[in-house]
């Protein structure tokens, strides 16, 4: 029976049963698409310029901007619950733990050299 298990009653506001009810206009999706294409072009162009250590910084920065656009808008994180956002942040956090604590080993391995007698 519809009444028992679903809150959808004809004529009720759609928001009541669809928290991420925000249906974005097509223009938003196309706009994000355009931004992603532009940033792709930028990152390819930036790779042709010698910026030494900043090459990787810039590349990752652009990738992160693109990724953020995909996650927020294409994946609707912008319109999702806080819990979903916590999930995404947790993934990033623990990934960074894996990277950074592993690097404490690799970056400091040759700080201490042993002299054999």
């Amino acid at each position: 029976m519809a009444q028992e298990h679903a809150h959808f009653h004809p004529g009720s506001k759609q928001e009541h049963f669809d928290p991420s009810s925000h249906i974005a206009p097509i223009s938003m999706y196309v706009g994000i698409w355009a931004a992603l294409m532009i940033f792709t072009g930028v990152t390819v162009f930036a790779a042709t310029i010698e910026l030494h250590v900043f090459n990787i910084v810039l590349a990752l920065l652009i990738a992160t901007i693109k990724g953020t656009l995909v996650v927020l808008f294409f994946m609707h994180l912008r319109y999702s619950t806080k819990l979903t956002m916590v999930t995404v942040v947790a993934a990033i956090f623990f990934l960074l733990i894996l990277f950074s604590l592993s690097m404490t080993d690799y970056l400091t391995r040759d700080w201490l050299t042993f002299v054999s007698h």
Binding site: A2, H5, A6, H7, F8, P10, H16, F17, D18, P19, S20, I23, A24, I26, Y29, V30, I32, W33, L36, M37, T40, T43, V44, A46, A47, T48, I49, E50, N55, I56, A59, L60, I62, A63, K66, G67, V70, V71, F73, F74, M75, H76, S80, T81, L83, T84, T87, V88, A90, A91, I92, F94, L95, L98, F99, S102, M103, Y106, L107
Partner: protein, 230 residues
């Protein structure tokens, strides 16, 4: 709401939930949790990449020079387009526009196949150049002025290249399979504006696969252009 929309939702309703809203929220949350595991899964490979690139930067530069930037960039663009069509397909599902959703899903699959086709072309080139790790690996920079400085660690670069893009391609293939499933189910009328969780969840998966490539492309293809190269 059309009666048929309600019937679709009633048919899809699982009775251990209190109502459709709970089912929908739970389903989306479950999908995000699964994507979290996928992030950690790829994350292990990214960690290996980080460690070796930090230790053997020059070897990685030389390996990456052998990547075809234009094919890689094209693939990036292809995936971004596929994400657009996928996102618009989900939007159609939200609005009950079944036929348009079908077309958008077909376009998504076409973009997916295009990606795989370009990847196959790249793989063939690398294979023929002996750039597959193992006993037959033989790396040459292709520039007689700058011979390979550290081919042993360039082999590691290629190991990671094949492993990371291979795992990604596997996920693409699975993604195309999933899109096929919701296309067929959608055309058969399984979804409505009240119940479209599978479409939304496949969309989330697809965007995630795109997201991985957004990081793979600069890390594998765009390390440095100092020596020129394709």
């Amino acid at each position: 709401m059309a009666t048929s929309d309600i019937q679709v939702a009633e048919h899809a309703f699982q009775h251990h939930f209190a109502d459709m809203e709970q089912q929908r929220e739970t389903s989306t949350f479950g999908m995000w949790m699964f994507l979290l595991t996928e992030i950690m899964f790829f994350g292990g490979l990214f960690c290996a990449y980080l460690v070796y690139r930090a230790s053997y930067y020059q070897a990685f530069v030389e390996g990456s020079q052998k990547m075809n930037i234009w094919l890689g960039a094209t693939n990036t663009a292809v995936l971004i387009c596929s994400s657009l069509t996928m996102a618009l397909a989900v939007r159609c599902a939200q609005l009950g526009k079944r036929k348009l959703m079908g077309w958008l899903l077909i376009f998504t699959m076409i973009f997916g196949f295009a990606f795989l086709g370009i990847k196959a072309k790249e793989y063939t080139e690398h294979w023929e150049n002996h750039e597959f790790p193992g006993p037959h690996f033989h790396f040459q920079t292709g520039d007689p002025q700058h011979p390979a400085t550290d081919p042993v660690h360039t082999e590691i670069y290629f190991s990671l290249y094949w492993a990371m893009t291979g795992l990604h391609a596997l996920h693409m293939i699975i993604g195309i399979g999933l899109v096929t499933w919701i296309l067929l189910a959608g055309m058969a009328g399984a979804y409505s504006p009240i119940y479209y969780s599978p479409v939304e969840n496949v969309g989330l998966y697809w965007h995630f696969v795109d997201l991985v490539w957004i990081y793979l492309f600069p890390l594998l293809y765009l390390i440095s252009k100092k020596h020129g190269g394709a």
